[in-house]
């Protein structure tokens, strides 16, 4: 006799297909929920912010009067910050990743470092702010400068870049290493000529995403005391500064309702910048990803 009961299969068929449809619907709801919330947010921000968004908004400093308030100092402050964060975090992050993946021996110390890098990625950003305040601002006497803020944010996003770069380096197939080593290439020559060219798209993508996180970060900069009201542009990295999210945070905290509209305009600028950065990351990933 057959161990497969055809009738039993028939009877259960309806239930199985129903189950599949039900779960498909539930998963669909999950994505709809987040899209709706995002949509609502964007509609609200745009409807509030569009009235105030004009060229003046980008070219004026902050002001006591909402109609005169502008975003200039914050935009320029954020850009200055990137001048520090981008090179410092990418250099340290990629260097760390190369060492861990290529040179480090697989021993207890390496595994300890590796574990801590993963843990660091989960440390709340406000804790990094505290670190920045104690170490850069006070101990190294950098004051509440762009340098102190930039170094703090670099540390914050460092683990993200390290992990992304490690993934990218690990995705280079072993036979590529073999081919290079077999021709008498040194380790560094292999990294420089074979590994990095293949890993660069992944490294860039991870770095850009990490940088866009740094641009949106508020808490650590509040901790180190980035100013919220400045009517001048920083001239060098030792000057005080404000950044976009802090300026937005400040505006939304004001009692006058007009300032909330100003804040919405600021959010639009910030969102626009983040969308651009993420698009560039996606473009790089698609354009340069190597297929073996």
């Amino acid at each position: 006799m057959s161990s497969i009961d055809k009738q039993l299969i028939q009877r259960k068929m309806g239930k199985r297909t129903f189950q599949n449809k039900l779960l498909k619907a539930i998963f669909f709801m999950c994505i709809i929920f987040s899209i709706l919330v995002l949509g609502a947010l964007i509609i609200r921000v745009v409807s509030q912010g569009i009235t105030h968004l004009d060229w003046n908004f980008l070219t004026s400093f902050a002001s006591r009067f909402p109609e005169e308030a502008g975003f200039k100092a914050a935009v320029v402050g954020s850009l200055w910050l990137m001048v520090i964060v981008a090179p410092v975090s990418v250099f340290l992050g990629v260097g760390t990743a190369i060492y861990l993946e290529e040179y480090a021996k697989d021993n207890r110390f390496t595994r300890f470092i590796q574990m801590n890098i993963s843990n660091l990625a989960g440390v709340p950003s406000v804790v990094f702010g505290l670190l920045g305040l104690t170490f850069f601002v006070r101990l190294m006497e950098m004051g509440r400068s762009i340098m102190a803020g930039g170094l703090t944010l670099s540390l914050l996003i460092l683990p993200i870049i390290v992990v992304a770069a490690q993934e990218a380096i690990r995705s280079v197939p072993n036979d590529q290493y073999e081919a290079s080593f077999a021709m008498g290439a040194s380790k560094w020559q292999t990294i420089r000529r074979i590994v990095l060219p293949s890993a660069i798209p992944g490294i860039l993508t991870g770095s850009i995403l990490a940088l866009s996180r740094a641009i949106g970060e508020t808490a650590p900069l509040l901790m180190i005391g980035a100013l919220t009201f400045i009517a001048y542009l920083p001239e060098n990295v030792w000057d005080g500064f404000t950044v976009m999210p802090i300026q937005i945070f400040n505006w939304t905290g004001r009692p006058q309702e007009e300032f909330h509209f100003v804040a919405a305009s600021g959010i639009m600028i910030l969102l626009f910048l983040l969308i651009i950065m993420n698009s560039v990351a996606i473009y790089i990933r698609n354009k340069f990803s190597k297929r073996y």
Partner: protein
């Protein structure tokens, strides 16, 4: 000097392997391997899967050291120098000893860039010299006519057999003395295999070739000397004709007549 003497000189040992042992952790992969590999000859290494033939060929240019947790004992002399001598730079050894792998592994670069990779890492920058190297290497690897019009296209656009010949050309570009081939045709179709075999025949004029192969007919067709490995030991090492027509060990006979493996 008579003709016979000249031949004898020409076929001096390029590699001399003496009591060589290798362990992967607890696993004793090579046991007291001892034999000489002659110059300007094709030496085939045959044996069933897991007998240590790949491990052995990778020991000859120390690629085996990429595997973590290996231990070695005994010596391998290349041109009378112990390759495991700490003073002997592994990069220097690998400049003299090229390698071709089981799966074609070109770099994701143009054909031209693949060939000049080796010369460039050894510091050759002159455009004219590099161009000459590319032409010479591709001609030696019997690939020039097929690719001369698309040197700057990506190497991944080539067929599997062409990719493998490109890898051979790439290893020739640094003008090694020895070429190690680790089952170079196992991923290829019969026609490409035939081309590679013909190529091996022509290359032995200028190079000493060690080839690992799964395919006994291939060993019989192209090699001068054959070593039969079993469970990490060299069971028999002899002239290819001798080994295939009149093996001295029962296990060799069992293997080459297809009773196992």
């Amino acid at each position: 000097m008579t003709q016979a003497q000249q031949t004898a000189v020409k076929h001096d040992a390029i590699y001399s392997v003496n009591q060589f042992n290798l362990w992967y952790g607890q696993d004793h992969a090579l046991k007291d391997v001892t034999f000489d590999i002659p110059q300007n000859q094709v030496t085939a290494i045959i044996g069933p899967s897991g007998c240590g033939k790949s491990t052995f060929i990778k020991s000859l240019n120390r690629m085996v050291e990429m595997v973590p947790g290996i231990k070695m004992a005994g010596s391998i002399n290349y041109k009378n120098k112990n390759i495991f001598d700490p003073k002997y730079q592994v990069e220097e050894l690998r400049t003299d000893v090229g390698m071709v792998f089981q799966k074609p592994n070109p770099f994701p670069k143009s054909i031209y860039e693949n060939i000049v990779y080796g010369p460039k890492i050894h510091g050759i920058k002159d455009k004219q010299t590099l161009d000459n190297i590319v032409e010479k290497s591709l001609k030696s690897a019997a690939l020039w006519d097929e690719v001369k019009d698309r040197l700057h296209e990506n190497a991944f656009g080539l067929s599997g057999g062409q990719q493998q010949r490109l890898c051979i050309a790439r290893s020739l570009a640094i003008e090694p003395d020895v070429i190690l081939m680790d089952e170079p045709t196992s991923a290829l179709d019969p026609i490409s295999t035939l081309k590679i075999e013909e190529l091996v025949q022509s290359l032995k004029e200028d190079y000493s070739i060690v080839i690992v192969t799964h395919n006994m007919q291939q060993a019989a067709r192209i090699s001068d000397k054959t070593a039969f490995f079993l469970n990490g030991e060299v069971i028999e090492y002899d002239d290819t004709n001798q080994l295939f027509s009149n093996p001295s060990d029962q296990r060799t006979e069992d293997y080459i007549t297809g009773r196992f493996g």
